[in-house]
């Protein structure tokens, strides 16, 4: 019975992606180069996503303003055509680290409900997420990181 419950829970996690409290798998952690001594904001975006483009200047600003010894904003570009993704990153002058995910393996593990999407990871665990574009995203991020630092 226990085996069945555990299997169901594992399967449900696979089906629905990372939820709050879930540990990021070692494979994904390695792809994103996550360390336990920092809090990460993972931003999933694509060149065809209009809201992602709208939000990007504020994310760049948030990344530049955060204390890089404690926090890091990592972009994950899910464009299937790598060249398109790289051209988009250059066009927007993205200054934070971007991991290209053309085969969508990273985003499949997270399985967000919308684009763009932000995940907050602390000590290898998903502690919060946000789907869809938001006004004042830089302030929302600053407030979130301040709260997590307490």
């Amino acid at each position: 019975m226990m085996k069945f419950i555990i299997t169901s829970l594992l399967v449900s996690t696979l089906l629905f992606g990372y939820q709050k409290g879930d540990m990021v798998s070692p494979t994904i952690s390695k792809k994103l180069d996550l360390k336990n001594d920092k809090i990460y904001i993972i931003d999933f975006f694509a060149s065809w996503c209009g809201s992602c483009k709208e939000e990007m200047p504020l994310l760049i600003k948030a990344s530049q303003e955060m204390d890089k010894s404690k926090f890091e904003l990592i972009g994950v570009d899910v464009d299937e055509e790598l060249a398109k993704g790289e051209a988009f990153q250059k066009e927007l002058n993205i200054s934070f680290r971007v991991v290209n995910d053309p085969k969508n393996k990273i985003i499949k593990a997270f399985d967000p409900l919308g684009m763009p999407s932000l995940y907050v990871i602390k000590e290898g665990k998903v502690v919060d997420f946000l789907f869809g574009a938001k006004d004042n995203i830089d302030k929302l991020i600053a407030d979130e990181l301040k709260e997590l630092s307490k």
Partner: protein
């Protein structure tokens, strides 16, 4: 009436999700392309063309409710 019934049936079939694969938010790159939009994304051309049809033919409808009026029909 038959055409209406067929339209409703197709809509209900689609609503039930029968045989339709879920498309994840990050898999919508192709659907977001300009070529997938009416008139290649050129809204003004679509409006002009539809208005010619409205002026020269007796029927209208099916393209959204906001149209604006004119003394052209």
């Amino acid at each position: 009436m038959r055409a209406i019934s067929i339209t409703i049936t197709i809509a209900l079939f689609l609503l039930s999700g029968c045989g339709i694969k879920e498309v994840k938010p990050w898999e919508k790159g192709t659907l977001a392309k300009e070529s997938m939009k009416p008139n290649g994304g050129n809204v003004l051309v679509g409006k002009f063309v539809n208005h010619i049809y409205f002026s020269k033919e007796a029927t209208k409808g099916g393209g959204g409710v906001a149209g604006g009026g004119c003394g052209c029909n």
